[in-house]
Subunit: 236 residues, 2 copies
DNA sequence: GAGTGGTCTAGACCACAAC
DNA sequence: TTGTGGTCTAGACCACTCC
């Protein structure tokens, strides 16, 4: 494992466990590089990671101050699978697979997936049922040339995990878009909408490590259960 | 100006202008460091910025591939003022100031702003009127001890600009939360809701460079005009 | 084997904060 | 003046891709 990742993980754990408290200052970069026996640049890589993830704020001439994570629990922004989210939730969570088929790409899908009309596409429709209510409708479209098989029990678990662990494809980044829409007939059929006339739609374009687009996903949420958290640093 | 920022800006401009096309590979880090007359680590800082902002994807053993920005126009995630957004929009944009007062913090505000009940707080209520329709209701709360004056004409323009340029306070980062809510009476009074029974609320906690919390903002959007774009890299 | 990006080092000088 | 983080250098070795 990398040195700077080890240092990052050790420090972030200490912050999460409260051994380093909000408002406290970390040891200086010089001191950390001495105590870990690494160069200062390596310490700086670890501290920059902490800063990007909202653990600390570096202040020139002063030091690195531990931030208060508790206000927003955990910055869940970025690429997090539903399975990882579900682990942190209380209540019963269940995934129902409504459709799992290979379809030819229509014009919309061909455009979203950057492929040709008629190319074979996996279509997966699932609902996430929380405490007996269907809260999220997930519609996944995956390029079938990269995913020959897609077992239904893996869809009930986590497609990400299957793709990464079993197929060895490395997911690298995603472009997300959050909008509100009127519920479609499908939304009304599959979601427990409880009278709401809006769904929050998270549209996701997922790319592999070689920058190849391979998945388009729409997560359609009942509005009262939707929550999106982000941590943004100022671009200077 | 920093060397790595100059290189970042030059390369990002070339990508935006299409001089470097999606799918093309940048010159290697070695070649760039030679042509810019800087060390390789400096080039790498510039390339890492490009990567974080979604311009390129670095692929080990191969090179840095230019990504397709057009699909999602510009990654608007992060800290962007409404004024900056408005510049990119077509149509007429106007800001109406409904309230600009100093109030004592109630319990909710004291908690949001991490201060004491009764502390003086600037309260600013504005609507963003786009093509004649009030689309966004912005409620801003600023700690008055850091902002002695708040001219109404600066509120019509940009509070961020006033705080940064005139007061010399450096905004550093924000924690954002996006949720959907039922419209309040105030929403119904000040927004052109056009029959929608939901508003999208972006809650923002804004911090200064010394990690001091100084502003809490709620941006309440009419759902059909709301759009949030994010670019997320996988945490490994 | 040649070329790529990823990590790491041991220095250097700077701007800024605190005393 | 001392200590902090910010930038930058000129090397080194590694893992990976491609031929």
């Amino acid at each position: 494992m990398n040195k700077y990742l080890q240092i990052y993980q050790e420090l972030s754990r200490q912050i999460e466990e409260g051994k380093l408290r909000p408002g406290e200052t970390l040891p200086s970069e010089h001191a950390l590089s001495k105590s870990y026996g690494v160069s200062r640049e390596t310490v700086r890589k670890a501290l920059n990671l902490l800063s990007e993830h909202g653990y600390i704020q570096k202040i020139k001439g002063k030091g690195s101050v531990v931030l208060d994570l508790s206000r927003f629990e955990f910055p869940v922004s970025g690429l997090v699978s539903f399975k990882e989210l579900a682990k942190k939730m209380k209540g019963t969570v269940e995934t129902v697979v409504h459709e799992l088929t290979k379809v030819p790409a229509d014009r919309f899908l061909a455009q979203q997936l950057n492929t040709e009309e008629g190319d074979r596409i996996w279509k997966v429709v699932r609902t996430r049922v929380i405490d007996g209510e269907a809260i999220i409708l997930d519609k996944d479209f995956l390029r079938a040339n990269l995913v020959p098989e897609l077992p239904v029990d893996r869809c009930r678990d986590s497609i990400y995990e299957y793709v990464e662990d079993d197929l060895g494809l490395a997911i690298s980044f995603a472009k997300k878009e959050v909008v509100a829409e009127k519920p479609s007939a499908e939304d009304r059929r599959l979601l427990s909408l409880a009278g709401f006339d809006t769904v929050i739609v998270v549209k996701n374009h997922v790319y592999l490590e070689d920058a190849c687009l391979f998945q388009y996903t729409e997560s359609r949420h009942r509005p009262d259960k939707f929550r999106f958290v982000d941590f943004a640093r100022r671009n200077r």
